[in-house]
Symmetry: C4
Subunit: 203 residues, 4 copies
């Protein structure tokens, strides 16, 4: 325990931060549905066509649901490792959340304009930076001695997964400038990489 500030982990304080964060995740993930808008005054065949043409929006919805869901699981893991925290972690957590909360905006862009580089680049930048900040929280916790010695390996493993996610999304930016579709396919690497790490953890 090499905390520079006073130890502030009291049950109520910690619980409030976790509850607030979970609340923000829950709301951000639920607001994704608002990107699916129902147009007024469609007739029979038009409604059918509208629904068939909605697949990019539905793809963006499920993609972002998975992305925010994974961030939430990571956060869950990170906070289960903490034995202490300080104001810097609270602030980092808020900065991180400001990007998670932003996700519905690039999601709507991706659904509506997924064939254009700007949308894919913005999406990758927001998600990649959120992963980076998430990694920074783990690193800060390790550096300040807030992670119990027995859990340090697990924390480093989580950090490695978050670096991986950051790299995948950042690399997809130049790719998307060349081909928006290729940028999105690149993200599947993330999903696969993501699926590997929890199994590794379960062992």
């Amino acid at each position: 325990m090499e905390a520079t500030g006073p130890p502030v982990r009291e049950s109520v304080e910690f619980t409030r931060i976790v509850a607030f964060t979970d609340g923000v995740f829950a709301i951000a993930i639920t607001l994704l549905v608002l990107s699916l808008e129902v147009p007024a005054d469609l007739r029979g065949a038009d409604l059918h066509e509208f629904l068939v043409d909605s697949w990019p929006q539905l793809f963006a919805y499920f993609l972002s649901f998975a992305v925010i869901g994974r961030f939430w699981i990571s956060h869950h893991v990170i906070f289960s490792l903490l034995e202490d925290f300080d104001r810097r972690l609270i602030v980092l957590n808020l900065v991180y959340l400001s990007l998670v909360v932003l996700v519905p905006f690039p999601t709507e862009l991706l659904g509506d304009y997924g064939d254009q580089p700007d949308s894919v680049v913005l999406y990758a930048a927001v998600v990649g930076t959120a992963a980076l900040l998430s990694w920074l929280m783990v690193r800060t916790s390790l550096h300040r001695g807030y992670v119990h010695t027995e859990q340090r390996v697990r924390a480093q493993h989580t950090a490695a997964g978050l670096v991986g996610a950051t790299v995948v999304f950042y690399i997809s930016i130049p790719v998307a400038l060349l081909s928006p579709l290729a940028g999105q396919l690149f993200w599947l690497v993330m999903v696969l990489q993501g699926r590997v790490s929890p199994r590794a953890r379960a062992r």
Copy 2:
């Protein structure tokens, strides 16, 4: 206890999953009101007419409120049976929630285009699949030995109710293709069936 992964049920972890899930349910159910939009610039008689014509939207609102409310009660029952859980259940829970969160979208469609087959089919597909995933959570919990022996009968009873809901909504799909109204009437079977099972449980 035949858990393949390490037992991860610690108070904070479990509480966070439940709190996150309850948060998502609470938000999804509350966002339903956003499907009721107030048009600008209506005059006296037009406002009256608008409100009178809003009954399909209000019907869709209360129907979906009841549907999400029932899903929440089921989830409540399912999680009260659990003695343990693993990452697969967390992931299943997230996939399930991605459909619960989607409900406001088909609700708005149903309110605006309830006389067209596409709306009724999409609504039934989303709700039916959510019920299916809910059943899958119970089945996985039973299979992996996360339900206490004394509670297995109650879990099987809950599972049976969820299969029933799945079947009702899936059967309503071909019905709705023939007649959207008939498809919606068919759902009343669900409501009645739903009302029977909690009483059965209360005995």
Copy 3:
């Protein structure tokens, strides 16, 4: 304890219902802000005029914030009296919440069309019925013996306040049909009556 069903008050169950309800209240009260819309493409003087003309929307916002806030405080009191609960109370609570969640819709109507009887009538009907259901929860709890003997007087006092709110809003309906403004002034009685009851309780 004359509960007809099995006692289901276990810490987690009760906590989840309370947390879900608080979540719904918190979201419904926060969604009120969405009734305040910012129009696009206003120029200097137009923006000023728009803001000056926004007072009915702001009035409706603060009124509904106070109404939902008071409902939340009542719910708070009601649930602090409970020693037990059953499925009927859960269902009543959901029906009650379906009206609380609806409040942003008549709020937007009231803000935009407060000079027309339909808006005031709908607002009064939704709020009055929510108060009625709230009273029904207290009465059911008393009837089924879920309130501790020492708390019965306080519960009856709370019930009386809720009946008062119901009556005020229902009486305002015919008043609003004659004069929408008079109907809204009538509600001030509710606010005053409401301010009396907590002081009475605090003694």
Copy 4:
């Protein structure tokens, strides 16, 4: 303990108020993203231009995220000091929250019309008054003896920070009437002043 009302701090009551407040903060901060709207039917270059022109909206989003985040941290500190509370604090808390919840409205105005005095004035008035009410909560808690003797210095320190924020935002109102930009620059004083106080606290 010189509480004039009956001591009502029981675990469940206090927890519900805190949970409700955290819920409201979490939702208000998340709804900020809804001020970022995606226009329909943009073509390649137009999308790029739209995103480049979105920086005032993004600035307003991150500013309000920081403002609500700071309010939440203050609230967090205030409530960690309390040993008791009464109905007046609950009501003050609700009035305070009615302004926090309102923040997305002036945020959207600021994003869309940040070059016009009205937007900056309204933003400053809402945020300044929220800070004032926050200070009033601390003062009431101190006055009624709800803060433990050892924590009074910390409470007075928090109160001083909130008075500072109130003054900064209120002073920015006449400044904004002369120059909207100058008014917004003035707020940076708040941010700097805000950054000083937590460090002071950490000592």
